[in-house]
């Protein structure tokens, strides 16, 4: 009976309940597991964290006041995080940009896909009432992340050549989007 209950909740890849909740200062040790991992930050604009104090400062200064930032939890324990930005200019307020990271020990189990689907439902469901569009800008070489977004119902809009700098190198990036009006595919 217990196992069947697990199956009907948000589960993927065979084990564990996936949930989203705000990330707290008390999550810093779990944060350090993924944020210090070079495989995890390969396509992030930032370098791996090396200091718990830096991590605490980041959580306090950037994550706590963020318009939408959530820990991705597996059975209640943070294993990654995601966020949707807010634009200051009124003309750009309709869109937010999604980013996410997941501990490398949890890759390949559909966890990021499930977390992205849950986040999209939350932001369009009232957490971010001003948003019409959630977009994601993904490095052309980050095929795993492109698959996450496709499975989560995002539409691939095009490739933007030499769009941004990643750790000092120019990168081509794919633009994905999901609208509040998109049907589940």
């Amino acid at each position: 009976m217990e196992e069947q209950k697990q199956q009907t909740a948000h589960t993927s890849g065979g084990s564990g309940v996936i949930s989203l909740r705000p990330l707290q200062l008390s999550d810093v040790d779990d944060f350090m597991v993924w944020a210090t991992d070079p495989d995890v930050v390969r396509f992030c604009t930032w370098e791996p964290y090396t200091s718990r104090d830096d991590a605490l400062a980041y959580i306090a200064g950037t994550i706590l006041p963020h318009p939408y930032c959530r820990a991705i939890c597996l059975d209640g324990r943070p294993v990654g995080s995601l966020s949707v930005t807010r634009n200051e200019a009124a003309g750009d307020a309709c869109r937010g940009e999604l980013g996410y990271v997941l501990g490398s020990g949890y890759w390949g189990r559909g966890i990021a896909t499930e977390a992205v689907k849950m986040a999209v439902a939350e932001v369009f469901g009232g957490a971010r009432p001003e948003l019409e569009r959630v977009q994601a800008v993904v490095d052309v070489e980050n095929e795993a992340s492109q698959r996450v977004l496709e499975k989560a119902g995002f539409r691939r809009e095009g490739v933007m050549r030499k769009y941004f700098m990643l750790k000092g190198r120019t990168r081509d990036a794919v633009m994905f989007s999901r609208l509040s009006t998109d049907d589940d595919s």
Partner: protein
């Protein structure tokens, strides 16, 4: 009928451009697809030239002879976005259909990469209904990257926008 190539030039804005600037920046037909508020007076034109056009990272008056009949702007990014810049442009209504905007954009492309050595990509956001502007970019050699759905508001209306790009390694097509 296309304007003679030598007749169009780009130069920095001057305070003395105020009347010419008002003439097109005060025209709703020109500002329709821009985020600009249509100017209503010579005082507003003077203030805009002084406070926006002259201190701008890169804004040029598009001139026929020495008379200002339009503008081209480049907005470079910073930090990890320093490799790209956004282009915007507008031309007085009476100069439409003569290839002026295409000429001005081509000239801007020939200058901007030298002025901003970090910039490798110029991009333009164009409304799906803004057919004339799409033609300007295509004739200047831009590539259409894709359609960005519900990307931004323009004067209160949610817009689908085409994204176009031109790289420092791209070639401007022959006239």
């Amino acid at each position: 009928m296309e304007i003679e190539p030598m007749a169009v030039s780009l130069r920095p804005f001057r305070i003395s451009d105020a009347d010419d600037f008002l003439s097109f920046a005060g025209d709703d037909r020109v500002t329709r697809f821009l985020r600009w508020k249509t100017l209503a007076s010579r005082e507003e034109a003077l203030a805009t030239i002084r406070d926006v056009c002259i201190p701008h990272p890169w804004r040029r008056a598009v001139c026929v002879g020495d008379r200002c009949i339009g503008f081209v702007s480049m907005w470079p990014g910073s930090g990890d976005d320093r490799c790209r810049a956004d282009i915007g442009y507008g031309v007085a209504r009476e100069w439409w259909g003569k290839g002026v905007a295409t000429r001005a954009v081509r000239m801007a492309l020939s200058q901007v990469f030298g002025d901003f050595p970090d910039v490798l990509r110029i991009q333009a956001f164009v409304g799906v209904d803004s057919k004339a502007s799409q033609r300007v970019l295509e004739k200047a050699g831009f590539t259409r990257d894709g359609l960005l759905r519900k990307y931004a508001y323009l004067k209160g209306n949610l817009q689908d926008l085409y994204l176009y790009s031109f790289l420092s390694t791209d070639v401007v097509p022959a006239d």
